[in-house]
């Protein structure tokens, strides 16, 4: 986005906006970009191209599973790898059904009654790679009946249903890369599903989205998830009937309060 030189100055906070560029302080949208004829000024055009490139690279980035396992180990967590039925990224983008299914040979141990954890690349391996270990470092030690932690490449949210059903889990929490926007290519989403089994719909899950340091920071996301997990176990359900009524902390970040999921489930 175009940023005015310091000498031009954006109107001071509190002063009435008079210049077009003063609108920038009210919204993260790309307002007051300027005009060259009817087109975008060069710097605004190239800033957009750079943001799109970062998003595209995140969509096509491969999940570095050994590095992720090492990061989890450093956080004191052991994880194992499962495979989705989807072989590669082009297939992933065209066949959502394969990303929701377990691949052949994925033998899972029985872990009845646990809360299973699944980490998936989703549409941004970058997000999982960067933020999932930090989130789990804040969360895992505070969870009761924590079951196995699984990692899967080319996975969608509903892969958690297949994993949870195979384990006999009480619930599954899926941490997955959200579809990258131009603002951030590395937003992590967390999906909580009670009694996971194949065929669950999105209306039967709860979602905490936009987890990243500049969005909902991992520590706050962990608090929110811990609260949701507690409510889930009390009500024995997830989905639209489980409202997020967590009392807001002092500096509640609102960015996760979105109706529209940006994960391709």
């Amino acid at each position: 986005m175009t940023t005015p030189a310091p000498s031009e100055g954006v109107a001071l906070e509190g002063a009435a906006p008079a210049q077009w560029r003063d609108l920038r302080r009210f919204t993260p949208a790309r307002v007051a970009l300027g005009r060259v004829g009817n087109g975008l000024p060069t710097d605004a055009h190239l800033a957009f191209q750079a943001a799109h490139a970062a998003a595209r690279d995140a969509v096509h980035a491969a999940l570095d599973i050994p590095a992720l396992l090492a990061d989890l180990r450093n956080a004191g967590l052991a994880a194992s790898v499962v495979r989705s039925a989807c072989p590669d990224r082009p297939t992933y983008l065209l066949r959502p059904d394969l990303g929701r299914s377990l691949g052949d040979g994925s033998e899972l141990p029985a872990a009845p009654g646990c809360l299973a954890l699944l980490l998936c690349d989703g549409l941004s391996a970058t997000a999982v790679q960067r933020h999932a270990p930090a989130l789990l470092a804040h969360l895992a030690g505070r969870l009761e009946r924590l079951g196995p932690i699984m990692v899967a490449a080319q996975g969608r949210v509903a892969l958690g249903d297949a994993v949870g059903e195979s384990l006999g889990a009480e619930a599954v929490l899926v941490l997955i890369g959200e579809r990258p926007g131009l603002t951030a290519p590395d937003s992590l989403g967390a999906y909580l599903t009670w009694r996971p089994r194949r065929g669950r719909t999105d209306a039967e899950r709860n979602c905490v989205s936009n987890i990243r340091p500049d969005g909902l920071p991992p520590a706050q996301a962990a608090d929110k998830l811990l609260w949701l997990i507690g409510r889930m176990r009390a009500l024995r359900l997830t989905g639209v009937a489980l409202k997020d009524e967590q009392p807001p902390p002092a500096q509640e970040h609102l960015d996760q309060d979105r109706l529209i999921s940006v994960v391709s489930t």
């Binding site: 009435a16 008079a18 065209l94 990258p180 131009l182 309060d257």
Partner: protein, 456 residues
């Protein structure tokens, strides 16, 4: 086998009409995902040849979804006007294409509308190239009105889409002012709320109405909440100009959207009862898009483009002010790349216009589709030539709430500029009064002072 065609000694057979339509559809990932697409390029052309020989009347006699099973089919067939259909009743689909290209005029095409079904529009589109879709759509005239007049020849309107990640009214107001300074907003100033609640929607409705009133803009505003939310806002006395709803081409798709045809009638009656329109009484705003039926498991084995055209039969029953397909929003499993998005956008615009709708297009893509700004420029320019009623205007083309890329205020200015198109006349006069007709001033004009709308 009822339908078949032989090419170079190979006989291709199609067991029923919906299969024929699906196999004849230009390639797209959604039909492949549904496992109904042609298996080869030759099979596709064979299906197109068989479709070209199909009498139009067959599309009336053999509904792709049974009459008993689906209220959209009943809406289509019960409302069909045989008198309007008479001039084309003896034609095949191929003959219909020729007539549209050779003989169609704005007047004859308007007279045909009550005699056309979505399946006829979809079928003929499948044997048309992009230039055919452009040429025929450019001959269709559809005009609607609320506080201004939309769809007049030589005009291009813009929906100003000032979304904000957490519905901050000041953020929405700032993005709205940004768009107004760049000549956008004559189709509607319409916000997608991040949270679909009566409280949020009411707050935004009052804010948008304040902006419109303080600046004296001859346009309409809308918060694109679910129809049931808007109904509750109306009951509570909120200033609702237009009722918005996403709709689809089957009863089960609409059920997945949480709507029924009677509910839409109730909403239209409620909006009409407010009598807020000054230039006209078109009070509905619909969005559609190929793939929604398959996504909801409600496609009945029918290809996504034919289902999309059926959504336009739903729309036209409610005399909407605006309809737009959100063509690239759904993702690559339905429309894989720029080529598929471009084709789908022009098909949807053509079918909507042929059926008499004030058709706009959200020229857009997501970051997991194989598409970029160049693809959007191509589709936008083609749609401008085709006479698209309106396009979206999003600050810098980047929707910071919905996380996708649409067209920008700049893009709309580009299209108006290269094609000599002008805004809706009432809005154009307002831009002139505000001193915004020629360029965007660095200093915001006094009469558009941000302080008037709570920005200080």
């Amino acid at each position: 086998m009822p339908y078949h065609h032989t090419i170079a000694g190979t006989r291709y057979a199609f067991p029923d009409l919906k299969t024929l339509l699906a196999r004849a559809t230009p390639a797209r990932s959604g039909d492949q995902l549904a496992d109904i697409a042609a298996g080869s390029a030759s099979e596709r052309v064979a299906a197109q040849m068989a479709l070209a020989d199909l009498p139009l009347r067959t599309l009336l006699d053999e509904p792709v979804i049974p009459y008993e099973d689906d209220d959209v089919t009943r809406l289509i067939l019960d409302g069909h006007d045989t008198v309007a259909f008479a001039p084309i009743a003896s034609l095949t689909v191929g003959g219909f294409r020729d007539v549209l290209l050779a003989e169609g005029t704005p007047e004859t095409l308007a007279d045909l509308r009550p005699g056309l079904t979505p399946e006829m529009a979809a079928a003929v589109s499948k044997i048309m190239r992009l230039q055919d879709l452009v040429a025929v759509a450019a001959k269709c005239r559809v005009t609607t009105a609320f506080r201004n007049t939309i769809g007049l020849p030589g005009r291009l309107s813009v929906r100003l889409q000032p979304n904000h990640p957490v519905d901050d009214p000041r953020g929405v107001a700032a993005a709205t002012l940004d768009g107004l300074l760049m000549g956008a907003g004559d189709a509607v100033i319409g916000v997608n709320p991040a949270t679909d609640s009566v409280a949020t929607t009411t707050t935004l409705l009052h804010m948008l109405d304040t902006v419109r009133d303080r600046y004296g803009i001859p346009t309409q505003t809308c918060v694109l909440a679910h129809v049931t939310t808007t109904l509750r806002c109306i009951a509570a006395g909120a200033p609702v100009d237009l009722v918005f709803q996403s709709i689809g081409g089957t009863e089960a798709t609409n059920r997945a959207f949480g709507v029924t045809l009677p509910l839409l009638h109730e909403a239209r009656d409620a909006a009409l009862s407010l009598r807020r329109g000054t230039a006209g009484q078109n009070v509905m705003y619909f969005e559609t898009g190929q793939g929604s039926a398959l996504s909801a498991g409600a496609h009945h084995g029918v290809d996504q483009q034919t289902i999309e055209a059926r959504a336009y039969a739903v729309a036209r029953a409610f005399q909407p002010l605006l309809v737009n397909t959100v063509v690239g929003f759904i993702g690559p499993e339905y429309l894989y790349d720029g080529k598929q998005i471009i084709r789908a956008g022009l098909e949807d615009h053509f079918c909507g216009k042929l059926l008499g709708l004030p058709m706009g297009v959200d020229v857009c893509y997501t970051n997991h589709a194989e598409a970029d700004q160049d693809d959007m420029d191509a589709l936008l320019t083609l749609l401008g030539v085709a006479g698209v009623t309106y396009v979206m205007g999003v600050p810098g083309a980047d929707d910071v709430m919905l996380s996708y890329q649409s067209t920008s205020f700049h893009d709309a200015l580009y299209l108006r500029g290269v094609l000599g198109l002008r805004p809706a006349p009432e809005f154009e006069a307002w831009l002139d009064r505000m001193g915004l007709a020629a360029a965007t001033p660095e200093r915001i004009p006094m009469q558009l002072s941000p302080a008037l709308v709570g920005l200080a």
